[in-house]
């Protein structure tokens, strides 16, 4: 039982990172990014290219992945979403679907579809926490990564001037522009941070399982569940959301077998839409008529 809970917690950490990527883009850039799954996989494959295929030193791998992902974020905004400014939300969502399709094709073309094992910085041992309760070293890395990202995000949005300007632009982009804030750069930063969080989630997940486009892509899409449970725009809300999804998936697999992994999160989404569509922390968005 305790082992299961630890497993759920490790899984929740990954979901928290994915959910963070969904919420950040929804909130800062106003985009429901259905390409999150593909971008998660892309981040992990770029990392794998540097780490495994090219065998670069680890600091170079980390900085190189970060730089590539940030550059991709900038390109995504300047090439696509800046050009869609002023179009209805509908167009933005459809564009993310188109992006998802194109990224999947690119990834499959470059790296194929078979599963890979990534080069490990340290040997992935099993860590015994208590008597009979254990997890893998990479499970703990995932937890630490999630904690670091959330703590850093909290500090960034709370205390840094750039973070405060991002919140300002997220609340009212026209007023932000009138107040001299470079809204386009805020959006670029939104993409860069979201894609970085997504890449970290993808890498951690790939270390805990294997690296395959299909697996990481599906995880990224399921990451909308913790975001929705938390209210789609609340970064705080992602944490309980991720815990709920982590528990649902872990116990779903325990009760109904391995294939439940694919649907547990989606069932939670339908239940949330039925009983509390605005999520646990979201503002009520019901259409007033």
């Amino acid at each position: 039982m305790l082992s299961l809970l630890v497993g759920a917690l490790v899984l929740s950490a990954i979901y928290a990172l994915v959910g963070f990527a969904w919420v950040l883009l929804r909130r800062t850039n106003g985009i429901l990014n259905l390409a999150t799954g593909a971008q998660l996989a892309l981040g992990a494959f770029i990392f794998n290219q540097y780490a495994t295929s090219w065998g670069l030193p680890w600091p170079v791998v980390v900085l190189g992945t970060l730089a590539t992902v940030v550059a991709l974020g900038a390109v995504t905004h300047w090439l696509i979403f800046r050009k869609l400014a002023g179009q209805p939300e509908f167009a933005l969502v459809v564009a993310t679907l188109g992006l998802a399709s194109a990224l999947k094709g690119l990834s499959s073309l470059t790296w194929g579809t078979e599963a890979r094992v990534m080069r490990e910085p340290v040997e992935g041992r099993v860590v015994e926490l208590l008597d009979g309760v254990s997890t893998t070293l990479y499970g703990i890395f995932g937890l630490v990564a999630a904690l670091v990202v959330f703590a850093a995000a909290h500090a960034f949005f709370r205390y840094s001037t750039t973070g405060i300007r991002m919140r300002a632009a997220a609340e009212n982009s026209v007023l932000a522009s009138q107040g001299g804030i470079a809204v386009d750069w805020v959006y670029v930063l939104g993409w860069a941070i979201a894609l970085t969080a997504a890449a970290i989630a993808g890498i951690m997940y790939a270390y805990q399982t294997t690296l395959s486009f299909h697996g990481v892509d599906a995880l990224g899409l399921r990451g909308i569940a913790p975001a929705l449970v938390g209210g789609l725009t609340s970064i705080k809300g992602v944490i309980p959301g991720a815990l709920i999804i982590g528990l649902a998936e872990t116990f779903g697999v325990k009760l109904f077998g391995g294939s439940a992994q694919d649907v547990a999160a989606w069932v939670v989404i339908l239940v949330v839409l039925l009983i509390r569509p605005q999520g646990l922390f979201g503002e009520k968005q019901v259409e007033r008529v």
């Binding site: 400014a85 300002a168 026209v174 007023l175 107040g179 804030i181 470079a182 809204v183």
Partner: protein
């Protein structure tokens, strides 16, 4: 006389390619001048300020034709952030503050220029103009009173070192006491700093004390222009805006 700070020539503003809100307006604002635009709801006053201050890419409004010059430089149709760079800062009619940010964060959100010392100095100067800010630093701006929100919006604009400050309907929805406070502040700004102002106002009595020139806007064009005293004393304005009380 010198070249005007702001020159507007034949400005036409429309929304979504359809309705024209401002139709071929000419306007000059000189350095240190306070210019007042009067008019009924829907006359195009806000659109005039927005046409000068610029529309964001996400908005439907566009400058369809005409020119806007700041200090002789053509800045027609530039987005708001570029206009801020040219010293044109607008305090909009609604949503003048970031409600989910605290008062302090609202001020920090303004990208100030200059070195650390001069930024500190300007911030202190602005806060001393609006003393309530110091007490409310950590309060979410959404919880401020209407008058305080108005003043915070102006304070944030001042941090951007405007050469031309545009204020849209400063008195809207405020109590008479709050209106007095806001206009006292504007008055002291003009007196102390020689601020150039372009204001849209329906509350003529509040604006009368500070305005140098006035324009009356009717369906997208200026129906009457001149020195504020003359325009505000004219039969038309007295009847329409001041009622029988004056």
């Amino acid at each position: 006389m010198n070249e005007p700070l702001l020159q507007v020539r034949g400005l036409t503003v429309s929304y979504g390619g359809g309705s024209v809100a401002v139709d071929q307006v000419d306007l000059d604002v000189h350095d240190g001048e306070v210019c007042l635009v009067l008019g009924a709801n829907g006359a195009g006053k806000t659109s005039l300020l927005r046409g000068i201050g610029g529309f964001a890419a996400s908005e439907r409004g566009r400058v369809r034709s005409g020119k806007v010059l700041i200090g002789g430089a053509d800045v027609t149709g530039r987005p708001p952030r570029t206009m801020v760079g040219h010293g044109v800062v607008l305090v909009p009619e609604e949503n003048k503050v970031f409600r989910t940010l605290t008062v302090g964060e609202n001020l920090r959100a303004a990208p100030m220029t200059g070195d650390r010392g001069s930024r500190r100095e300007l911030l202190d100067e602005v806060v001393s103009l609006f003393p309530f800010i110091r007490e409310r630093m950590d309060l979410p701006a959404g919880q401020l009173s209407g008058g305080e929100r108005q003043l915070l919006g102006i304070a944030r604009a001042l941090l951007l070192k405007p050469r031309l400050l545009m204020v849209d309907e400063a008195s809207l929805g405020l109590s008479p006491i709050a209106v007095r406070k806001v206009f006292d502040s504007l008055h002291s700004l003009v007196a102390a700093k020689g601020m150039t102002l372009l204001i849209v106002e329906q509350n003529v009595r509040a604006a009368r004390a500070i305005a140098d020139r006035a324009h009356v806007m009717v369906s997208g064009t200026f129906a009457l222009s001149g020195p504020a005293r003359e325009v505000l004393e004219s039969e038309q304005v007295r009847r329409t805006y001041l009622g029988l009380e004056v």
